[in-house]
Amino acid sequence: MSEFPARDEPLLSVRDLVTAFDTDDGQVVAVDGVSFDVEAGKTLGIVGESGCGKSVTAMSLMRLLPQPAGRILGGSARFQGEDLVTASEERMRSIRGAEIGMVFQEPMTALNPVHRIGKQIGEMLLLHEPLSKAEAWQRSIELLKLVGIPAPETRVGEYPHQLSGGMRQRVVIALALACNPKLVIADEPTTALDVTVQAQILDLLRSLQKRLGMSVIMITHDLGVIAEMCDEVVVMYAGRVAERGSVRDIFGNPQHLYTRGLLESIPRLDSPRKQELTTIPGAVPPLSEMPVGARFAPRSSHPEVTAYLESASFREERPVLVEFAPGHWVEDCRYVRAFEGEMTK
């Protein structure tokens, strides 16, 4: 606790997390030194394109990495003062579900197709709380009501396949909230849903958070979802944090070329018709070919970036994050930072 004397300790504090996988081609580092804080009652968003390490970050925190391939190589994740990286497996079992709830993209991965909804929520409750079976069933009904499922008394006795995709995701949220967790990790909770259903689920998450006061880590590739849901944002690129700050910092004054590129390449409802969209040239390098230096540099439009790409510094020096403004951190490499003459919004 002495590490954070100046202000309240955040609920979760992740520092320099490194996670790797053993593959046929040797070890690949999927998460390479990620740090962020989640404050009590707040929502932190993690955004970035496919493969940038969002889900691996979440799985590392929950210690649910695929075994034996996945391993946390370093760093810490202090949750209420306790390091999740080094906690015992037994301790993790009681944290998962009870203190940290999870919601994944595909509701069916979290639900058992052969058990009634009530039984599944009930089992989660019984695992962590001293209740009778009848009490657990009753609580399941209350939870279904909480997440806005109509006729919960009927639904509680149904099987997952009898529900629509949106209702299933509500059930998964009910499961995640069953034991009043302090933190909910939601990994692309609405990506598989239609926009109108997504709007319902996001509304639900917001109102539940207001009522229950939990913190949320919202993982998504959709910047719109981030803008609507989050207080703080981590922008990841190729396993690292490119930029981190409040939602105002990230959307109002993005400092990393990647963040800008992402924001500018989304088509918007008010985009002019048939006009060329902004793109980010090039592509993400494969994990096995990741440079040590600024990973976005090969896609940078900086006029002098070629010299950097050929320099020893690109091959050997890893850029740190600097605090551009209070709480607003960005990768410290001028070739991937917004530069003068850059497009302005």
């Binding site: 394109e49 496919s50 109509p150 629509s164 949106g166 209702m167 239609d194 926009v195 109108t196 259903v197 997504q198 709007a199 319902q200 996001l202 509304d203 590739h221 959709d222 910047l223 719109g224 979802v225 803008a227 609507e228 939602v247 105002r248 959307f251 109002g252 590129g261 992402l262 924001l263 390449s265 989304i266 088509p267 918007r268 409802l269 985009s271 018709r273 048939k274 006009q275 060329e276 969209l277 902004t278 793109t279 980010i280 592509a283």
Partner: protein, 341 residues
């Protein structure tokens, strides 16, 4: 009376198209129910135009696209392509039209033969249609690769060696090989990351400019449709509920479903003030669609069950702007009922 939009000088004319799939229940039972995936759709596409098609999962977008290029046989209705009726042609009868009617899918992996090299995949259309000498075909393939932004060395590689965005470029290259007149794009960017998505959308816009193709552009993302389309049709449960010029539709949506779709898009504008239209319940099943107006029971405008069970009329409320007119679908709907109709 239901009037349908019809355009002069259209490349494609679809009239009251229906695609009903038999629903098999149990092993021995006879088929007596149908999934009405497309249930009475009429619209047209002009030469060089992009018609955007939006709607939520299961509303029948892909089925409509597949029926138009005759990967599926329609149950009823007509499809006229440059004046030729396609709806009941056999496979061989369709052959002369294949060149002009191509489709690009969401997941190119599904439509690309993984055992063929990219060179073989791209050469195939020329071989099937007996076009050019071998040397000419090779030159065409190289030009195609270059056109869609892939390296020449790609010819000897296999689809799995490419990223999702690159595979989509291969799919597009094959579809445009014979310079079709109509390209059906079925969610071509839905599986791609935003930065790759914008690259592919730009490519599609450039190709259209160069080759003057028409597009039927299918997507569930309204913002994507907005950028590409001249006209937009909104589909709900197998039917169009609104069709209008893109600018008109986005500035003056009339159907409550269109409004709900638009307002549901999460915005990156932190200060946007939004009036969200939240729908009741879930999309009904196309197997036993509710009688009358399919949307009435979900609409924020509540009507009596008696009213809901009356179908709406698809009418032109202003030039080129068509909407399903029903007390539950359009606010102040009396305003749009003109005595002449």
């Amino acid at each position: 009376m239901t009037t349908e939009p019809s355009l002069k000088r259209s490349l494609l004319e679809v009239r009251d198209l229906r695609v009903h799939f038999p629903v098999k229940e149990g092993v021995f039972s006879r088929v007596n129910r149908f999934c009405k995936a497309v249930d009475g759709v009429s619209f047209s596409i002009r030469p060089g135009e992009t018609f955007g098609l939006v709607g939520e999962s299961g509303c029948g977008k892909s089925t409509l696209g597949k029926a138009i290029c005759r990967l599926l046989r329609p149950t009823a209705g007509s499809i006229e392509f440059e004046g030729n009726a396609l709806q009941s042609l056999s496979k061989s009868g369709m052959r002369p039209f294949r060149r002009d009617l191509q489709i690009v899918f969401q997941d190119p992996a599904e439509s690309l033969n993984s055992r063929q090299t990219v060179g073989e995949i791209l050469e195939e259309p020329f071989i099937i249609h007996r076009l050019g000498s071998e040397a000419e075909r090779r030159a065409k393939v190289t030009a195609l690769l270059d056109r869609v932004g892939l390296a020449k060395s790609s010819v000897s590689k296999y689809p799995f060696e490419f990223s999702g965005g690159q595979r989509q470029r291969i799919g597009i290259a094959r579809a445009i090989a014979l310079e079709p007149k109509l390209l059906i794009c079925d969610e071509p960017v839905s599986a791609l990351d935003v930065s790759v998505q914008s690259q592919i959308l730009n490519l599609l816009m450039e190709l259209q400019q160069e080759m003057n193709m028409s597009y039927l552009f299918i997507a569930h993302d309204l913002s994507v449709v907005r950028v590409l389309s001249d006209r937009v049709g909104v589909m709900y449960l197998g039917k169009f509920v609104e069709i209008a010029d893109g600018d008109e539709l986005f500035s003056n949506p009339l159907h409550e479903y269109t409004k709900a779709l638009m307002s549901a898009i999460p915005s990156t504008d932190l200060d946007a003030v939004r009036d969200r239209v939240i729908l009741r319940g879930d999309v009904p099943s196309p197997i036993d669609p509710p009688p009358g107006c399919a949307f009435a029971r979900r609409s924020p405008i509540e009507v009596s069950e008696e009213e809901a069970s009356q179908p709406g009329d698809f009418v032109e409320v202003s030039p080129g702007h068509w909407v399903e007119l029903h007390p539950a679908t359009v606010r102040d709907y009396e305003r749009y009922i003109t005595p002449s109709r």
